[in-house]
């Protein structure tokens, strides 16, 4: 399985500011995924990030609010822009395993917006 790290692990931010979350994988992967887990809720896919192309966003999520970068095969960033308290969530990145279709998840970034 891939080893995935995320930075920061948690942050407390003010309304109207932006936060960039980093996701680093210890091996090259084609697809990386960004999820949001709102308090007490399940995981919702925000977007799929492929290296060398624009990210693909799910319904309800837009690039202006959640810009994503994917500069190489081991790294991605997700920015949460112009934050409001409703953005308080855990944000997780994941990658698909080389064999078997399962996804492996990073430890998550716990974001609180005041």
């Amino acid at each position: 399985s891939a080893v995935i790290s995320q930075k920061p692990s948690r942050d407390i931010c003010q309304r109207g500011t932006s936060l960039t979350i980093q996701c680093q994988v210890d091996s090259q992967v084609t697809m990386m995924f960004w999820y949001r887990q709102q308090p007490g809720q399940s995981l919702t896919l925000i977007a799929t990030a492929n290296q060398g192309s624009e990210a693909t966003y799910e319904s309800g999520f837009v690039i202006d609010k959640f810009p994503i970068s994917r500069p190489n095969l081991t790294f991605s960033t997700l920015t949460v822009s112009n934050m409001s308290p409703e953005d308080s969530s855990i944000y997780l990145c994941s990658v698909e395993g080389l064999i078997g279709n399962e996804q492996f998840f990073g430890p998550g970034t716990r974001l609180t917006v005041l």
Binding site: Q41, L45, N101, Q103, F105
Partner: protein, 115 residues
């Protein structure tokens, strides 16, 4: 549309007793089914998967799950629960149709194992 249902918000079981966490799904094509566990303040850990083959799949920490196509279910089981199994469990599905690798997650079931 793909969907996953976990009908129980919480399952309580005594240590040493068998446990079952329920999951049903709806998907186009053949299902790829997964179970994940989330401990407090931790990310998701992969437990097991069903892609094809034997309906009973075995995974990490002594967990197993049974794929039942006629009932569209994929219940998670363990013969003897441990207090350390207490965590939030998520069932997830994706279909084999199309190019998407998108996983759809259930709402999660909190497993509480009492000593």
């Amino acid at each position: 549309a793909q969907s996953v249902a976990q009908p129980e918000d919480q399952v309580n079981v005594a240590e040493g007793n068998p446990l079952t966490v329920k999951c049903t799904y709806s998907v186009s094509g053949n299902p790829y089914l997964f179970w994940y566990v989330q401990y407090p303040n931790r990310g998701l850990q992969f437990l097991l998967k069903y892609i094809t083959g034997d309906n009973l799949v075995k995974g990490s920490y002594g967990f197993e799950a049974e794929f039942n196509k006629s009932q569209t279910s994929f219940h998670l089981k363990k013969p003897s629960a441990l207090v350390s199994d207490s965590a939030l469990y998520f069932c997830a599905v994706r279909g084999d149709g199309g190019a998407t690798n998108k996983l759809i997650f259930g709402t999660g079931t909190l497993l509480a194992v009492q000593p």
